[in-house]
């Protein structure tokens, strides 16, 4: 029992009894401690005033460790970014882990450490949490849910419905890194590609952008479905057309090569540390310059603009000159055959 206790997660770790307490005390609290969490009451109690943003997301990534991150980092960055994309300053997160019986404690500890690192970088506190353990095969290793609360500063009005003709479309960096990094590790798909996930908290980048301009109309992180899906959402929500130029979209060589090989269009591949902003044209250069000062925005580029033509559609001017309609991703990305 002692050995098993030190090595792997047992059903008893989720019983609510002694082992559950030990798990929280020995694995979670030492890394995530803060005055609100440390009280260990049924709810986290804190002061907040102003307009609040509230979001939640669940993380079921497979594999749970991947080049450039793991499920823990993803669970923090994803929720922090959802808050940031509303213009909110993220403050507090909850974290709930559903763990499969038999999961190695050493891996859990590694994931909690990366949760800590990501939360520190984003300057957010985890103030509420829960763990459950389920029988083998009732979950795939580890699922995490995080919810987050942030404060939206006065005057900030960001929505996918705010794009106007003439606005510039800014992309914060290379696309497809996360999707290709994950794909390269999947069972049966292993291939060697020098690409790491771009998983990162973008709240500080957003704060800098909001300092540079009060006329950022739309912000979104192009996660699943990629750049194409995010732009299509903007076009539909705002009932405008968005025209982008293929040769302005930064793509890493390894991502492009892997996409050619697998038959994917990089604009449909997932990102976890990128954002798309739609900005008043007169402020675009200023916002772009600010973004490039930030590590996560150093490859930022203006990739297109909003128009009254083609309402609800995204048009891409291809490298060769002709234009085509860009659609949302449908279904799952599956590699092609030949």
């Amino acid at each position: 029992m002692k050995d098993a206790m030190t090595d792997t997660i047992l059903l008893a770790h989720g019983s609510g009894g002694k082992l559950s307490h030990e798990l929280v005390q020995s694995k979670f609290l030492p890394f995530l401690a803060n005055p609100i969490l440390d009280k260990l009451d049924d709810s986290a109690i804190f002061e907040a005033s102003g307009r609040l943003a509230f979001t939640t997301d669940s993380y079921v990534v497979n594999p749970i460790f991947f080049p450039g991150g793991d499920i823990g980092k993803l669970a923090i960055c994803g929720t922090v970014n959802d808050l940031a994309m509303s213009g909110a300053k993220p403050l507090y997160l909850s974290l709930s882990a559903i763990i499969e019986e038999g999961f190695p404690l050493s891996e859990l500890e590694q994931i909690i450490k990366s949760i800590k690192a990501a939360a520190e970088e984003a300057e957010v506190n985890i103030v509420a949490g829960d763990t459950k353990v389920v029988n083998q095969k009732q979950a795939d290793k580890l699922f995490i849910n995080t919810s987050g609360i942030g404060i939206v500063p006065d005057g900030v009005d960001i929505s996918g419905a705010n794009a106007k003709a003439g606005d510039k479309v800014i992309l914060s960096g290379t696309i497809g890194d996360h999707g290709i990094a994950i794909m390269s590790q999947r069972e049966g798909l292993r291939f060697s590609v020098p690409v790491e996930s771009d998983c990162a908290p973008l709240n500080k980048l957003v704060a800098q952008m909001l300092e540079a301009s009060s006329r950022i109309h739309c912000l979104r992180d192009p996660t699943r479905g990629g750049l194409a899906t995010t732009l299509s959402e903007f076009a539909r929500q705002s009932n405008v057309g968005i025209v982008i130029q293929e040769d302005k979209i930064p793509i890493k060589e390894g991502v492009r090569a892997a996409c050619e090989l697998l038959g994917f269009d990089p604009i449909h591949v997932a990102n976890e540390g990128k954002l798309v902003a739609i900005v008043e044209p007169s402020d675009a250069d200023n916002v772009l310059a600010q973004m490039r000062q930030n590590h996560y925005g150093r490859d930022a580029s203006i990739i297109g603009e909003v128009t009254n033509d083609y309402p609800g559609k995204v048009i891409m001017k291809t490298r060769l000159g002709p234009s085509r309609i860009v659609d949302m991703l449908s279904g799952e990305l599956l590699p092609r055959i030949c």
Partner: protein, 364 residues
Amino acid sequence: MKFIDEYQNSELARKLAQRIATHSTRPISLMEFCGGHTHAIMRYGIRQLVPQTIEMRSGPGCPVCVTATADLDKAIALAHLPGIIITTFGDIVRVPGSYSSLQQAKAQGADIRIVYSTMDAVEIARENTENSVIFIGIGFETTAPTIAASLIKAQQEDIQNFYVLSLLKLTPPVMKALLDLGEVKLDGIIGPGHVSVIIGSHPYNFISADYGVACVISGFEPLDILLCLDKLVEQIQTGQPQVEIAYPRGVKPEGNTKALELMNEVFAIDAANWRGIGIVSQSGLKINDKYHQFDAEQAFSHLLPPDMPVREPKGCRCGDILRGVALPGDCKLFGTVCTPERPVGPCMVSSEGACAAYYQYQSV
């Protein structure tokens, strides 16, 4: 990026397109055999670069699309057998069979795993000795050598729980079948690039020699395709059809002898069932006697429930599209009832399917 950027140079593309426009003086009809070519043509807007008098039709070169519904039904039935792990390439899981799809079978509890290489399927067999692992072997001459290599490896290592359901198909016999059908009057064929890497250009000689149709083998980058179109137009204009390679960095006339040897070692030529075309003699590869222990057909057919009648999707024109008789827009279901989210036929599913390409890359 080296080896990609060179073939996407917009200045060169414009010049080539101009040359094609100057040389092409009469309407011509071309078929791109490969679904990969259809996708590249649509994705890069090549139709918009060349004169409208050059008609381009899609062909049967999409392995997922040409897989017959009856074969798909068999794969789905195999997936439901106890103790079976099905391994397969991506898109096929989404293609509707008569009553279900592999994707639906998976949701109902069947163990279906997507692999990128057949060797990974062998690996899954090695790791799951209590299960029988069946690889659904679809594809053309491109995938056949790797499937052959996996069977040779399985035999060498005495892996006894690995099987292949061979639905492999050969391209020259189906081209001949299409030309014999004579439903579409073709002036030229954009020959398959990846297939020709394996089999070379000689197996296509009959196209120009017996049918007087031009055939130029092309790569998949925009400049490859424009160069191929330029050569096709020149052959057609001068009335001198022949088989030509416009993809010399990939294709040698004699093909890849090593790959061909692998195929010969493991497979025997047999008839195959093509969606929209039917049974074409000598157009498929079955596992030969030497490797029969790995043949899923032989190992499991007797365990399958009796065949249910094959039901083709109502109104779907995938068959016509695969024969070049219709374009995706000619199908009443295209973009309305049949979309990538709810595909009725395989041409809307596959990343090499014509309908998926026309839907995804609509021009403005």
